[in-house]
C-alpha cells in the first residue's frame, strides 16, 4: 500500500512516475469508504471528483506536492464548511483560508477533508463533539484521544498521508500516542495561528501529525515561519529540518522527571544504546500544571467564544455542549472582579514558575522524556462522564503549552493491545533537536510502522 510509505518515499515514486497522486488519493478514498463509518473520522469530506481533478493537476514543486492530507476541523477553509465540531457552527462556511491551509495548498498538498474533534478543542477524547465520538482504530471500543482525534485516526487508518492538528493542552500528542502515530506540539509562535479557531490563544499551537518523525520534519519546514497576520508568530529562522535528521546522540543528555513505566524504560534503553546520557531532573511545579491549565485555558476560552452569539453566523449558544459550557463558566468566574486575583492571576504566577522550572531543568539536560498520557486509550464514555478524570488525563502534556516549549510525541510500544507513546520535550525552538532524537529512535525501532488491522 502506497499509504504505508513515508512522504519522501512517495514523493520519489511520484517523480519516477510509478505512482500518481490519483492512485494514492484513490487508496485514501477506498479506506475512508471502508472504515469511516466505523471510526467516525470525517465531519466534512470534499467532493470526490473535485479531489481527483486536483490530483490530476499536481505540479511537483515541493515534497508535499500531490500528498493527500486531512485537517482538524478547527481551521477555517474558504468555501468548505468549518464547524469546530460544534452545532454552534454546523452550517458555517468561512470566507477565507487559515495560513496553514494556504501554505499547504501553495506546497501542492491535497486537502481531503475536515476531521472530527472535541468541540472547540474542549476535551481529550474526541467524545465532546456534536458529530459523534471518534473510535480508536486499534480497538473500536476505545476512544481515539483528543482533541485532534479524527486527525490522528485518519493517519493511523491510512486515510491520508498526514494531518494538521491543533494542540492547546496535549490535543496533538494525546491522540497521536493513543493511535500509534507521531505528532509535534510546536514552540508557541513557530507556526502561524491565523485561521485557527481559537480555544485558548496563549496556549494554542498548530502542528503536524504523521506516521514518522521524518514526515513531521518535512511538513514543519513548509508550514512554519513568521506570518504578518499573526503578531505572536516568531521571526526565528526556520531550519530545513528534514535535511538535518542525522545526529550522534553521544553528547545528548536526557532528563527524566518521573519514575518511568515499562514502555518508557524500554525506550530509554534504546536511546542509551544510541549514546544518550540519561539523568534525573525535577519539575516540582508539575503538580500544579493541571490546575494552572484549567484556569488559563477556560479564562481565555470564555472570551474567545463570546462572539458565537448566533447573531451574525452559526446557531445560538444553547448549542454549546455541557463540557464547553463548564469551561466557559469556569473561565468567566476566574476573570471576574473579586476572583481574578485568586484564580486567573495566581495561574499566571504559576505559569511563570513552570517556565522557570523548565529553564532550570534545561540547564542540566538537553531534552526531557515523559509519557504522553497516564493511561492507555480509555473506553468510550469513560472520560466524558467524569470531568475530573478527563482533566487529569492531560497531566503530562499541559506544562509544555503553559511554557510555550515544543514536544514531540512518538510511539514506543503497546499496552493492553493498544499503542502507547512518549514525549521528548525541549527548550523554545528546539524542534530540530527533537526531530533528530526522534528520528534516530525510529531508525532502531519499528513501533511507528505498526498499523491497525481494520
Amino acid at each position: 500500500m502506497n499509504l504505508d510509505l513515508s512522504i519522501s518515499e512517495l514523493a520519489k515514486k511520484y517523480r519516477s512516475g510509478v505512482v500518481t497522486p490519483e492512485d494514492v488519493l484513490n487508496e485514501c478514498l477506498e479506506n475512508i469508504e471502508k472504515n469511516n463509518p466505523k471510526l467516525n473520522i470525517f465531519i466534512t469530506l470534499r467532493d470526490r471528483q473535485e479531489l481527483l481533478a486536483e490530483a490530476r493537476n499536481v505540479k511537483f514543486e515541493t515534497l508535499l506536492s500531490g500528498i493527500p492530507y486531512v485537517l482538524k476541523d478547527a481551521y477555517v477553509t474558504k468555501d468548505i464548511r468549518t464547524t469546530s465540531a460544534s452545532n454552534v457552527l454546523n452550517n458555517y462556511i468561512p470566507d477565507y483560508d487559515a495560513t496553514v491551509v494556504k501554505k499547504l495548498r501553495d506546497a501542492g498538498a491535497i486537502l481531503i477533508g475536515k476531521t472530527n474533534m472535541d468541540a472547540w478543542g474542549h476535551g481529550g477524547s474526541s467524545e465532546n463533539t456534536d458529530f459523534g465520538p471518534v473510535k480508536n482504530p486499534w480497538d473500536v471500543s476505545r476512544v481515539a484521544g483528543g482533541s485532534s482525534g479524527g486527525a490522528a485516526v485518519a493517519v493511523s487508518a491510512r486515510m491520508a498521508m498526514f494531518a494538521i492538528g491543533e494542540d492547546t493542552g496535549g490535543s496533538i500528542r494525546n491522540p497521536a500516542g493513543w493511535c500509534g502515530i507521531s505528532g509535534l506540539k510546536v514552540t508557541y509562535g513557530r507556526v502561524s495561528r491565523y485561521g485557527a479557531i481559537a480555544y485558548a490563544s496563549s496556549l494554542d499551537s498548530v502542528g503536524p501529525m504523521a506516521k514518522n518523525v521524518e514526515d513531521l520534519s518535512l511538513i514543519l519546514e513548509l508550514i512554519a515561519g513568521q506570518d504578518k497576520l499573526d503578531a505572536t508568530s516568531s521571526p526565528t529562522e526556520v531550519p530545513v529540518y528534514s535535511k538535518n535528521l542525522n545526529l550522534d546522540l553521544k553528547n545528548i543528555k536526557i532528563g527524566i522527571p518521573l519514575e518511568p513505566d515499562q514502555a518508557i524504560k524500554d525506550a530509554l534503553v534504546k536511546l542509551k544504546e544510541l549514546g544518550a546520557e540519561i539523568m534525573e531532573v525535577s519539575l516540582p511545579m508539575l503538580k500544579y500544571a493541571v490546575p494552572t491549565y484549567y484556569l488559563l485555558a477556560p479564562s481565555e476560552t470564555s472570551s474567545n467564544l463570546g462572539r458565537y452569539d448566533g447573531i451574525r453566523f452559526g446557531q445560538d449558544r444553547s448549542n454549546f455542549t455541557q463540557e464547553s459550557m463548564r469551561r466557559i463558566i469556569i473561565g468567566t468566574y476566574a476573570l471576574s472582579a473579586g476572583y481574578y486575583d485568586a484564580y486567573y492571576k495566581k495561574a499566571q504566577q504559576a505559569r511563570t514558575k513552570i517556565i522557570e522550572d523548565y529553564n532550570t531543568a534545561f540547564e542540566k539536560c538537553d531534552v526531557i522524556v515523559m509519557p504522553v498520557a497516564p493511561t492507555v486509550a480509555t473506553k468510550l464514555g469513560e472520560l466524558i462522564s467524569d470531568p475530573v478524570k478527563n482533566m487529569l488525563a492531560d497531566l503530562y502534556m499541559v506544562t509544555t503549552n503553559i511554557a510555550g516549549i515544543p514536544s514531540l510525541a512518538i510511539p514506543c510500544g503497546f499496552e493492553e493491545g493498544v499503542p502507547v507513546g512518549f514525549q521528548i520535550q525541549g527548550p523554545m525552538f528546539s524542534e530540530e533537536l527533537l526531530f533528530k532524537i526522534g528520528h534516530q529512535y525510529q531508525q532502531v525501532t519499528d513501533w511507528h510502522k505498526a498499523k491497525p488491522n481494520i
Partner: protein, 402 residues
C-alpha cells in the same frame, strides 16, 4: 451653601491613520457605503487575529508626550469583555493597567491616562430593524481620561479647545465633534464640601463644544436643585437635547460593569526604549501653547497671540513678517470676515423653530414692522451663538415668505 462642582472628562479621538488598528482595512469610514471596509479581523470572524498598527501606537504616544505624560516603557493590550451587537468579537481590545501614557497635564488640569483602543461598529435603526455597519469597527481610538478637577464649564471649554488644537497640530486626527472623530463624555457630580460625592452622572453624545458647555451648566444646576431639596441625584447616563438645552436620562446604572479585563493573548506586550520615546518627542510640532508664548515674546498681546496661534494659516503669514503691523492687518481682516461655521441646515432648523414659537413677532413683521426681525435673530443667536447674520436674514425671509 456653596456647591462644589466635580467635573471630569473621557475623550475619545479617532486617529486618521491609513489603516485600522488591527487590520489592513482603511480607517477613514466617513460617508463610505456600509460594510465596504471590512475583513475577517474587524468582523471578528472565527480564526482571525489582530496585528497592531505601529503608526497608531506612535501617534498615541506623541499625543501623550504633547500632554506632558509619562510614557510607560512597558505596555500591553487587554481585552475588555462585554456583549453588544456592534462589538463583533465580544470584547474590545483596549488597555487596562498599563496604558501607553499616564500622569499628564494640560492648562493646569491633570490627565490621568492616554491609552489606545479600537472603535466599535455602528448600529443603524431603521423602523423595527437594526442594521450593523462594521466600517468603523477596529478604527484606532485614543482615549484621554482627565482627573475630575474642573470647576466649571468655562474651565472645561478652554481645556477641550486646547486639546483639539494640540491634536490638530499633531495631525493625528481631524478631531471633529460633528463627524464623531472627537467624542466627549462628561462626568459630573456636585458636592457640598471638599468631599467626593457618592454618585456620578455621565453625559454622553454631545457633539459640539457649545453644547458641552450648555449640558454641563444645565446638569450642574439640575443636581444642585435636587441636592437643595434633600435628594441625591441618581447614578446614570444622560443625553443632551439640543433643542431644549436640557439633559435627559438614558440609562440607569445599577452597578459597575464587570468587564473581566485580562491581557490580550494575541498581541505580545510592548517594550519601548527611552531613546525611541525621545526620538518621538523630538518630532513633535510646535504646540499651541508654545506658539502663544512665542508670539507674546515677539511683542503681541495675549489676546492677539491666542487668535493668531489658533489659526495655522494666520500663524504662518505672521511668522513670515512678525511685526505688530502684520498682526493688526491679520486681526482686522479676520474681524471683517467673521464667518460662521454653523451649517445652513442647522440655522434653517432653528429659524423654523423660533418662528413658530413667536407668532406675535412674526405677525408684526408681516404687518410691516420689519425691525422686529432683530428680535428673532437675537433668539436664534442665543441658541446657536455666532451666526452668519445676512444668511440668517435670508433664511427668515424665505421661511416667512416675505
Amino acid at each position: 451653601m456653596s456647591w462644589q462642582t466635580v467635573l471630569g472628562f473621557e475623550i475619545h479621538i479617532e486617529l486618521s491613520t491609513n489603516s485600522k488598528m488591527f487590520c489592513g482595512c482603511p480607517a477613514n469610514h466617513f460617508n463610505t457605503p456600509p460594510n465596504s471596509q471590512v475583513c475577517p479581523v474587524c468582523l471578528g470572524l472565527p480564526g482571525a487575529l489582530p496585528v497592531p498598527n505601529a503608526k497608531a501606537i506612535e501617534w498615541c504616544i506623541k499625543l501623550g508626550l504633547a500632554l506632558g505624560c509619562k510614557i510607560n516603557l512597558q505596555s500591553k493590550f487587554d481585552r475588555k469583555n462585554y456583549f453588544y451587537p456592534d462589538l463583533p468579537k465580544g470584547y474590545q481590545i483596549s488597555q487596562y493597567d498599563q496604558p501607553l501614557c499616564v500622569e499628564g497635564n494640560l492648562l493646569g488640569h491633570k490627565i490621568r491616562r492616554v491609552h489606545m483602543e479600537e472603535d466599535t461598529g455602528k448600529l443603524l435603526h431603521q423602523g423595527s430593524e437594526t442594521l450593523i455597519d462594521f466600517n468603523r469597527s477596529g478604527v484606532p481610538l485614543v482615549e484621554v481620561v482627565t482627573e475630575a478637577d474642573f470647576n466649571d464649564s468655562n474651565d472645561s471649554d478652554n481645556f477641550l479647545k486646547e486639546l483639539q488644537q494640540i491634536i490638530r497640530a499633531l495631525g493625528i486626527s481631524s478631531c471633529d465633534m460633528e463627524k464623531g472623530s472627537m467624542r466627549l463624555e462628561a462626568n459630573i457630580s456636585v458636592s457640598p464640601d471638599e468631599s467626593f460625592p457618592n454618585y456620578k452622572v455621565e453625559i454622553k453624545n454631545v457633539n459640539s463644544f457649545r453644547f458641552v458647555k450648555k449640558a454641563v451648566d444645565f446638569e450642574v444646576s439640575r443636581q444642585i436643585k435636587l441636592l437643595e431639596t434633600g435628594q441625591t441625584p441618581i447614578q446614570e447616563t444622560r443625553g443632551f437635547k439640543e433643542t431644549t438645552g436640557e439633559t435627559f436620562s438614558q440609562r440607569v446604572k445599577e452597578e459597575a460593569h464587570d468587564y473581566r479585563y485580562f491581557p490580550e493573548p494575541d498581541i505580545p506586550p510592548f517594550e519601548f526604549t527611552q531613546a525611541q520615546i525621545e526620538k518621538w518627542r523630538s518630532e513633535l510640532p510646535i504646540l499651541p501653547s508654545q506658539k502663544r508664548l512665542q508670539l507674546v515674546e515677539l511683542g503681541l498681546s495675549e489676546n492677539y497671540a491666542r487668535i493668531i496661534s489658533a489659526d495655522p494659516e494666520m500663524y504662518d503669514v505672521f511668522m513670515k513678517n512678525p511685526t505688530k503691523q502684520t498682526a493688526d492687518l491679520l486681526i482686522n481682516k479676520r474681524e471683517a470676515r467673521v464667518v460662521s461655521n454653523i451649517p445652513e441646515e442647522k440655522i434653517r432648523e432653528v429659524v423654523s423653530k423660533v418662528i413658530s414659537a413667536n407668532i406675535a413677532i412674526v405677525e408684526s413683521i408681516k404687518a410691516g414692522k420689519t425691525q422686529a426681525i432683530g428680535a428673532l435673530i437675537g433668539q436664534i443667536k442665543k441658541e446657536l451663538g455666532d451666526i452668519d447674520i445676512p444668511l440668517t436674514q435670508k433664511i427668515i425671509s424665505e421661511i416667512m415668505k416675505l
